[in-house]
Assembly symmetry: C2
Amino acid sequence: MTRHYNFCAGPAALPAAVLERAQAEMLDYQGHGLSVMEMSHRSDDFIAIAEQSEADFRALLGVPDNYKVLFLQGGASLQFSMLPMNLLGRGGSANFVHTGIWGKKALAEINHLGLPHHLAASSESNGHTAVPRQDAIQVSDDAAYLHFTSNETIGGLAFDYTPSAQRRDGTNVPLVCDMSSDILAAPLDVSEYGVIYAGAQKNIGPAGLTLVIVRDDLLDQAQSPIPSLFNYRAIADANSMVNTPPTYAWYLAGLVFQWLKDDIGGLAQMEAINQRKADKLYAAIDASDFYANPIAKPNRSRMNVPFVLADSALESAFLAEADKAGLLNLKGHRSVGGMRASLYNAVSEDAVDALIAFMADFEQRRG
Amino acid sequence: MTRHYNFCAGPAALPAAVLERAQAEMLDYQGHGLSVMEMSHRSDDFIAIAEQSEADFRALLGVPDNYKVLFLQGGASLQFSMLPMNLLGRGGSANFVHTGIWGKKALAEINHLGLPHHLAASSESNGHTAVPRQDAIQVSDDAAYLHFTSNETIGGLAFDYTPSAQRRDGTNVPLVCDMSSDILAAPLDVSEYGVIYAGAQKNIGPAGLTLVIVRDDLLDQAQSPIPSLFNYRAIADANSMVNTPPTYAWYLAGLVFQWLKDDIGGLAQMEAINQRKADKLYAAIDASDFYANPIAKPNRSRMNVPFVLADSALESAFLAEADKAGLLNLKGHRSVGGMRASLYNAVSEDAVDALIAFMADFEQRRG
């Protein structure tokens, strides 16, 4: 067995230690005589797994007691519908800071549903190479919440600050953030947010699980009627088991949380590693005329590093040779082309070193 | 490692051969250097897995070319919302044959959504111990479809015929069936149905995957607007990849389909095994005054066998001793109590023999 270096944007690399543990427990979970996959979600054994997973997640992020953590299905994209249906029941409009393709999709969905929305700021004018600054964010008077994407997975554009917005009466507009591609990459002050949501398949676990962190006061603002399985309050009251949850993905997420706690030492340590990885790769790109990344330095993503070659005709050779060298999934998103190296938590510093060495070698041979 | 006999109603037992294969491939799928969980859903490798999984499923059931197979999230319960939103866009009402708790939930959801519905038949008057006969099904003049639950998982009540309904002009009302707990248990004539749907966690694979088989002419009858991820047409056009699908569950389902084809030999062989298993267990129950099952013989489920003890005070002793003997998850659903043995495809004849032997022994000692 050989494990290659996997730079996939998602579903993404998982820690080998997590996969090894899952492998060992696949047919017999801790002497219980069955796989986690084969357990009733209402059994004591699975409830213990689910509760430990949530407890570890809460501990890692320091989730305050007045927030619920929901374990859902449907991906972050389903939240593009669920969010406005849950938060606009008392009127008002969804406000958006648009910084790339995922934010645009969130906006498109609310438009498709015919629900009130307002574009509070956009980085479209700079080609999404720098996020709007705080003073450029103009929320509407009826803003029910302000939505942004902390890290645009495709563009590689990340916020270097937490945006905020006040109503005329001085109260804060609840902040809603799609953190799919950078949750758990660094410590976070959850109390600044109303809702944080994330598809699992980058830093949490396998595809098919979505985590939503929601402040208690936002649980009871749903429109009516909406599908029962959309209702945050009902889901929270049922501990995310209104119906059968994706039990195996939930378990695997728990193993990832344990790895972050025990093997890495927590999110501050994880952030230091992530910062080193990203710094190295951007330094290599910036030191060369052969590679380029267009993002303003303060907004460069630590998770997703898109880059292009000076000679785009060499792209397919780059990708083919990288693949042969065991550096997988470096192709940029089909909508933008070029290259992209995703450096999620499970991508080791060794992987980044190997990529940088390959890039230098390729440049020397073909540049 | 010991594998116990697992009679869980869902998430349910999986074939050991499937889990062993998944275990072997957990860290390195066929020499590709990564887990299936870590693959982009748009990679050639995963597309091949997904297409093979669908092809095997279609082959097993003989799904005609004018039906799409959708691989979704959210469980069968999410279909309780998605179905009417997809099928009532041209008007008319959803008609229901109500034979137990799951059918009741489907009906409750459409009522919650405020969409038109009509109760065409119900077995409530006989305590859901026998399904309504064909001539008792009275559809409304505006019936857009007729929904039924082929096998009620909690009650252990199964249809012994395929219901049908005609409009005044003689055309058939599309038949919609929740087959969560008996799909793949026996051959099926898919062409009799408009839509078949099933949560995976009984006979298909792990929880977190839902399969929907839908006839092409029913893809374009959606209400507007509905959430983009609810739209059958959009999902079908994107080969179930509008967003990231539950890739690992999809792969595991594929392994189950291969097991059904190669190890079992197909659905006719599977049905023969399932029939033997169920016949044995019902015979043991009927031969005793100590155990009882209330369902009319033609409607007894081959998948879920609920039973009670003559002395209900012995239930907890029965369950505790069974558990100690390696016979897991025999407790009835919390809404009805008693016992329930689920005999899905992956539950072996040996498991049923062991259960019957335990029941005889328990009766002798405690009866």
